[in-house]
């Protein structure tokens, strides 16, 4: 014991010296490859963080070192070399990006066009340096002013660490403990971006909050950290992600999202995830290991997760709800599409703790090509959760004969008054359905998109309107080439 403490001190001293060695480095844009305490100090210094946060990160790092990469998920990928990754890179400067849309991959532009994205937005998304940034700055400023008037805090996680340290200390890691899992520990050590939201008592957020409004400052982070607090009687709808595929060179993503609702509050969290899935042969693509959890701490509070997952080579993601307050409600609506060689292991956990808590899970998995999709869900009713209710519906749709869909429900009931229902179906797009659509004049790809959107309707209708329209188109695009 003593020995380790000494060793730790030595490390700290040594790294303390190193820290000076890094002073000039701080002026550069990248931390060296790999992960060690120095890199964490570098990140913290870059972000001009308070001392307590650095200490918190270092503790997380120490914990991470003792943990093992999980292998229970039904995903298969080459071992990640965590020392072969850059953990901090300053946002790309304009010169690195393409000069105009003519330099952008035509395939990407074709997708943008299908999604109906304006030329200006296409430029932003593909990283072309343009004046639009000024537009979005001014849009963002207008929005922020409006939010501020309502007393709402909506800022980057780094800003929050400076400006709202008490809240950060209170909530950071309060829902997803550092050591929750391997990736949450990693994220806690190195997170570099993300969003902080606080909705004060009784306030209904007047608009959908979206990271899009922060596009000028938020280069989608590799290790994002998001915290959303809804105080008593408040409501907020938060949109994460973007239907358009974004330029991104980081292969590993490990985000952590923490939500807290107090009495009578509600958070609606919607995600459209469309990161690079790899090519048709399964090369490249993003690994997405996410920990998302919401705590319904107050009575009558509600957290609702809606996700549309179409991208990434590997998805490992289980947005969950801790239903602590009496009468609290958790919801999980998910569409996960896998095509080609994509693998997704996703689902949810609903933990019933308070009385009369209820949860709904609707999961729609669509597999095409040689992909594999797994739904993994846990419904747990603790002894004190009188009259808990859960309804789970898991539907899988297969396109072709080479893909797979798996459903792994875990149910743990510790209170006899619980009512838990589980329904599961697996179906295929039938030749009859396809021919019926084609005979009416629809092209194959439109027909598949239509049938798949119909299959996902129960989930899609939970998305905010403007998101839903784009997400519908996205489903079709993700499945291109999967039939015929």
């Amino acid at each position: 014991m003593v020995a380790t403490k000494e060793a730790q001190q030595t490390v700290e001293e040594v790294s303390g010296e190193y820290k000076y060695g890094f002073v000039t480095e701080i002026e550069t844009e990248k931390a060296p490859k790999g992960l060690n305490e120095d890199v964490i100090r570098f990140i913290s210094a870059k972000k001009k963080e308070p001392e307590w946060l650095l200490a918190w990160r270092l503790k997380a790092y120490a914990k991470w070192l003792t943990m093992e990469e999980p292998t229970w998920a039904m995903v298969d990928y080459p071992k990640i070399d965590f020392q072969d990754i850059y953990y901090y890179a300053a946002p790309k400067s304009a010169e690195d990006g393409p000069k105009s849309l003519e330099d952008v991959d035509p395939e990407l532009l074709r997708t943008y066009e299908k999604l109906g994205i304006s030329l200006k937005e296409q430029e932003v998304l593909s990283g072309v340096a343009v004046d639009i940034v000024f537009d979005s700055v001014s849009v963002a400023t207008t929005f922020r002013k409006k939010l501020k008037e309502a007393g709402i805090i909506f800022c980057s996680i780094s800003e929050a660490a400076h400006d709202y340290p008490e809240m950060m200390k209170k909530y950071l890691g309060s829902v997803v403990p550092v050591a929750d899992n391997y990736y949450s520990a990693l994220n806690s050590a190195v997170f570099t971006d993300g969003t902080f939201v606080y909705i004060p008592k009784g306030v209904r957020c007047p608009m959908e909050l979206s990271t899009y409004f922060r596009i000028n400052e938020a280069n989608t982070g590799q290790f994002e950290r998001t915290i959303i607090i809804a105080d008593e009687g408040s409501y907020v709808s938060y949109l994460e992600g973007c239907t358009a595929p974004q330029r991104d060179e980081n292969q590993l993503h490990a985000a952590v999202v923490e939500l807290v609702t107090h009495d009578d509050a509600e958070i609606k969290y919607s995600t459209v995830q469309n990161w690079y899935p790899g090519d048709k042969d399964g090369k490249g693509g993003i690994y997405n290991f996410v920990t998302k959890r919401g705590a319904c701490r107050g009575k009558n509070s509600k957290i609702s997760w809606t996700q549309v997952e179409t991208g990434s080579a590997i998805t490992w993601k289980y947005p969950s709800c801790l239903l602590i307050g009496d009468n609290s409600v958790g919801e999980f609506y998910s569409v996960a599409i896998t095509n080609n060689y994509q693998q997704a292991d996703t689902g949810t956990k609903m933990i019933h703790i308070g009385k009369n808590t209820s949860s709904t899970i609707i999961s729609k998995g669509i597999s095409a090509g040689k992909s594999q999709a797994t739904y993994r869900g846990l419904v747990k009713v603790l002894p004190g959760a009188e009259n808990a209710r859960n309804f789970t519906q898991c539907d899988s749709l297969l396109i072709g004969d080479l893909c797979g869909a798996h459903t792994v429900p875990y149910i743990e009931i510790k209170n006899p008054t619980a009512q838990v229902e589980h329904e599961a179906t697996t179906s295929k797009i039938s030749d009859e359905q396809l021919f019926y659509c084609l005979q009416r004049g629809l092209e194959v790809e439109d027909a598949v998109a239509l049938i798949v959107n119909g299959f996902c309707k129960d989930v899609m209708q939970n998305l905010p309107m403007e998101f839903a329209v784009e997400a519908q188109k996205l489903l079709g695009i993700s499945l291109e080439g999967s039939v015929g």
């Binding site: 019926y436 005979q439 009416r440 004049g441 194959v444 119909g454």
Partner: protein, 251 residues
């Protein structure tokens, strides 16, 4: 004009159509009758290009174009419509949305633009009304939970909206009650025009009282074995296939 010459079709390696010849000019209404399993539905699928219906011999042209060379959706774009013997259910997709996607896809195929939403809405509502279909049904998912008769009526609403120049109607009259048969027949008659052709597959003479055909064909064992006018159907109703000397192995 539709021209089918010496059409041979195999399904799953088994020859079902064994040399069908049929010519339909614009404006004509033809009826095909024949015993169960004769190959009537097979003919309709082959004309529309369903997967798995292998053409081993013969040609099918429409207005001089080779249909066999086209995908099913292209054939629809050329004006072909198939009223299905067993209409298919598409969960989660509203009738309205389905029809709108189909109509706009056909318009684009013909080099046109999408129909404005308001105009489309008016069109569909008017056609549904003509066919005595409750406007609420337009919002329901395509054919899901529809009764047999409702499905057939829904096919007719789709036909009325898409306004095809060649409609192949496979037992559209089966499963309809007497009043519905009248309504559907009126729908078919409304499509009738010097430009449009209609091919009706039916088992019952009754439909032909309402929609009077120019020609009646009898199909047996993968071939058209007899052709006449509407009196052939009346004859058939009286005497049956056997009475007319048509058996399963007529060929």
């Amino acid at each position: 004009m539709l021209e089918i010459k010496n059409l041979h079709v195999s399904v799953g390696g088994k020859e079902i159509l064994k040399g069908v010849n049929l010519t339909m000019k614009s404006g004509e209404v033809h009826a095909i009758m024949g015993p169960n399993g004769a190959g009537k539905s097979t003919l309709s699928y082959a004309i529309c290009g369903k997967d798995g219906y292998e053409i081993t011999e013969g040609t099918v042209t429409y207005n001089g174009k080779d249909l066999l060379d086209m995908e099913p959706d292209q054939r629809a774009g050329e004006g072909l419509f198939l009223g299905f013997q067993y209409p298919v259910e598409i969960p989660g997709v509203s009738n309205m949305n389905f029809l709108r996607s189909a109509l706009n896809s056909q318009r684009r195929y013909r080099g046109g633009k999408d129909m404005p939403a308001v105009e489309f809405l008016k069109l569909v509502r008017a056609k549904a009304k003509e066919l005595d279909m409750d406007a609420e049904m337009l919002k329901r998912p395509v054919n899901v939970g529809f009764s047999g008769g409702e499905k057939k009526r829904n096919e007719m609403v789709q036909m009325a909206v898409l306004n095809p120049s060649l409609a192949v109607l496979d037992e559209t009259d089966s499963g309809l009650d007497i009043d519905a048969l009248k309504v559907v027949s009126d729908g078919i008659n409304r499509l009738r025009s010097p430009e449009n052709s209609i091919l009706m597959i039916t088992h019952y003479q009754r439909l032909l009282d309402y929609v009077v055909p120019d020609f009646v064909h009898i199909m047996a064992d993968g071939k058209i074995v007899r052709t006449g006018d509407k009196t052939l159907a009346i004859d058939l109703e009286e005497k049956g296939y056997v009475g007319l000397g048509i058996t399963e192995n007529a060929a």
